[in-house]
């Protein structure tokens, strides 16, 4: 019975249970420590689906006034009082436990990645997961800065860089369609005493759904002064052969 309930964890995180099952599941959750850990992660994952939705562009100003006015006359729920002693311990422990848990999570991910590699299963997913983890790190970093460039053609390039993570996420929108046998290639440009060095950051894989978009992770960005995109023969070139389609300078 409890095993049966546990399979509802995905539907629960997606709010896809009817009221009756929802209540049953929450009761089960109250007594199941291991389920709670899984639920927390899946609820967090579901929230990422929510955060990926287009934010509302025009928020009615009347809504703000209504909310603030209602709040001003609405009492807050009172927290359950926790004895001072345990509260102090918990406060002190929380960051330490948080750091330890983060470390464990990293270890768990490497172990999972290793296992997947051992099994030779779906290597793309492994690479994707690693990249995604780095992308997530960049987006979550405290020091990230976004740079943005839009050309009159509509082509739009955004670079989010974190020095802390030493990586950047480059995203392109409204890329012009490519002729057969051509690719877009990304370049790192570093300026040195003896001029500028241009090295390939790889060929852009356009999004399957919309070929006009592409996202790329650039690791090791320390010393990169600019990024550029050129059109090249399919598969890319060792050196850029044409003028950059778009180039964005990163402040040092």
């Amino acid at each position: 019975m409890s095993h049966d309930l546990h399979t509802l964890v995905g539907a629960y995180a997606l709010d896809a249970l009817d009221h009756h099952e929802h209540d049953d599941f929450e009761q089960h959750l109250a007594t199941c420590e291991t389920c709670r850990a899984e639920v927390d992660e899946l609820v967090e994952t579901a929230a990422r689906l929510g955060a990926a939705v287009e934010p509302a562009d025009a928020v009615p100003t009347a809504l703000r006034a209504r909310v603030l006015e209602t709040v001003a006359r609405t009492p807050q729920e009172r927290p359950v009082v926790v004895p001072l002693e345990s509260r102090r311990t918990r406060r002190w422990l929380a960051p330490v436990l948080g750091a330890a848990a983060a470390l464990l999570a990293v270890l768990a991910i490497s172990v999972a990645v290793q296992q997947l590699e051992d099994n030779e299963v779906d290597k793309i997913t492994v690479v994707q997961a690693r990249e995604s983890a780095l992308i997530a790190d960049v987006l979550a970093s405290q020091d990230k800065v976004a740079y943005d460039k839009q050309l009159s053609t509509g082509l739009h390039m955004t670079v989010v860089r974190s020095r802390e993570v030493d990586a950047a996420v480059v995203s392109l929108r409204d890329l012009p369609p490519l002729a057969e046998g051509r690719s877009y290639q990304m370049w790192r440009i570093s300026k040195g005493a003896d001029g500028q060095t241009v090295t390939s950051a790889g060929v852009l894989e356009p999004d399957e759904v919309s070929r006009a978009r592409a996202t790329m992770l650039l690791p090791d960005v320390a010393g990169v002064d600019a990024v550029a995109v050129t059109e090249e023969p399919a598969g890319g070139s060792p050196k850029p052969t044409g003028e950059p389609l778009v180039q964005l300078t990163l402040p040092t």
Partner: protein, 201 residues
């Protein structure tokens, strides 16, 4: 990182700009102590996401606005339940928003007049830059990861999350066994979790 000050609504122009300058979790913790100014800052920092998600799920703009209003009142009333050690304020608030939106859509509509398919092809059309950069990249990353799911996993997850269907409704829409849909939702979310690198401290 600079501690959150209450942002003015037009505090989002300028380029380059740091994104997420406001620490929403800090504002939510202060809200729990009855700080109305912090609450206003929290509102300004997340209202476009809350309303965006409500609109995506309930479709009707005025109903979505009601959902957003109810969510913010609920945030104010129950802010003390938020535990910053367990997750971000954004997750907490979006989870409340989704639950509320799903309740409304189930009350308002019968399953038959909701669309069966969710179309990702267009993608969000963002018109301002830095404040929405995070959201756009988030979107692109989520979409990329959704592609690593099997078709049934992906359809089940999307129909449930973005349309508010129960797993039983999803099963009948996809002409699949409810028990299968239930496990595909779990497997799909687990795969998504791993691809997105989600972990909860």
């Amino acid at each position: 990182m600079a501690l959150a000050s209450v942002p003015s609504p037009d505090d989002s122009s300028g380029n380059p700009a740091a994104t997420d300058r406001v620490d929403l979790s800090d504002l939510l913790v202060r809200t729990a102590r009855g700080d109305e100014r912090a609450f206003a800052g929290l509102y300004d920092g997340i209202v476009s996401l809350v309303l965006g998600l409500a609109r995506r799920v309930v479709r009707d703009p005025s109903r979505a606005e009601e959902v957003a209003q109810e969510v913010f009142i609920q945030v104010w009333q129950t802010a003390h339940r938020f535990d910053p050690a367990k997750g971000s304020a954004k997750t907490w608030i979006l989870t409340l928003t989704h639950r509320r939106a799903v309740d409304v859509v189930r009350r308002d509509q019968s399953a038959t007049n909701r669309e069966a398919r969710y179309d990702w092809s267009g993608g969000p059309a963002y018109d301002t830059v830095d404040e929405q950069v995070s959201a756009r990249l988030e979107y692109e990353q989520v979409r990329r990861c959704l592609r690593s799911l099997t078709e049934l996993q992906r359809e089940a997850v999307q129909l449930a999350y973005y349309r508010g269907y129960t797993y039983a409704e999803v099963a009948s829409l996809l002409k699949a066994n409810p028990a299968t849909v239930k496990t595909r939702m779990r497997d799909g979310l687990i795969r998504l979790r791993d691809c997105l690198g989600v972990s909860v401290a």
